[in-house]
Symmetry: C2
Subunit: 212 residues, 2 copies
């Protein structure tokens, strides 16, 4: 039995967690909300890239754990329902775009509660394409700087500082991006924040992309 393990056994549970977290030994966690009408490329790129980076990803079905029909009829099975998923805490809550999916998340009380809890605890919130409108609807990150799919700008300019010349925008714990064509950069930025720049670059290279 290693000395480190013995040392950890001797510390309290709380201290153990603290030590592991500070040394980045515990893998980071993400929950991605999957709703009917989600943009399947934005969803899949986020899930796949974060898993390539070693992040523990939970795919949470907005309305349960049944298969979800996405915006272009790709059918994806969630890992669990959002109701089950919210029993744990996550380093990042990811909202994929797609008009139907975003509208469903706008109407969901559970999504509003999850986002408020994430904001209060200082966790990362990430939204791409149409999904920044979900933040607006639930009063999250008001006043911060963000971007979105161009067509959603009008719904966001009143409550946020809107940026349109960047593919991924970070304002503290808020990460936003613009559409399918910026989804790799969005997921790589999250990988950088949760793991490291080196890891994001390694993952990018494996996909034949670059990450600066």
């Amino acid at each position: 039995m290693s000395k480190l393990f013995l040392f950890l056994k001797q510390t309290s549970g709380f201290a153990t967690k603290g030590i592991l977290r500070n040394n980045c030994k515990m893998s980071k966690s993400a929950v991605i909300i999957l709703a009917e009408g989600a943009e399947e490329m934005e969803f899949t790129i986020a899930a796949d890239v974060l898993r390539r980076a070693g992040i523990n990803v939970t795919v949470a079905g907005l309305n349960g754990n049944e298969p979800v029909k996405c915006s272009r009829n790709v059918v994806i099975v969630p890992d669990k329902s959002l109701d089950q998923a919210v029993e744990e805490k996550y380093d990042v809550v990811v909202l994929p775009g797609g008009l139907g999916g975003s509208n469903a998340m706008c109407e969901s009380k559970a999504v509003g509660e999850l986002l408020r809890a994430q904001e209060t605890s200082g966790g990362i919130i990430a939204a791409i394409c149409a999904a920044p409108t979900v933040l607006a609807k639930h009063g999250i990150a008001t006043g911060k700087t963000l971007t979105s799919y161009p067509a959603m700008k009008a719904q966001l300019v009143d409550n946020y500082t809107y940026v349109e010349d960047k593919n991924v925008v970070q304002d503290g714990n808020l990460i936003t991006s613009r559409g399918p064509g910026t989804a790799f950069e969005f997921a790589l930025k999250l990988s950088e924040l949760l793991v490291s720049k080196e890891k994001a670059q390694e993952v990018a290279k494996g996909m034949l992309l670059t990450h600066n």
Copy 2:
């Protein structure tokens, strides 16, 4: 009842199909084979982009119509089984990458038969990432020029002219590409070939990409 409809009713079934096909009124069709261990981004980008281009896409599960676990544990439900899907003809047969998925397609007699029939009829065959090895295994398009994920080069150089400085390679009816980071270009190229350059450019723009 429109004059066009009356006219069509008066022609024979065969002639009707010919007229519609020549005028590009019938939408083009694609079958994408989905096997355990497929790269979910390469699969999803192909399905989504081709559907955005108005192409009729069938997702065919290699081993039936049950949910398929992809390479990074995203679970996708096929539209039908490959056995059912091969009862129809398609303008393009698309093979996504992912090592597990490609190996499964290499071992599949049904995939070999579908590819040989597609080659014989002059239809388009498209493969990305690890999937060009499926062509090699089944003796398809031997001698043609292609590309693949860099790690698969050694398995392809003996039977093909291998290109590594292009993201998408066309040699007649064979279209190949390199990995997740080239999947949008791959799908846009197929959209261009099946529909038109203008349509591919329109689809690219909607995703915040460009297609030249």
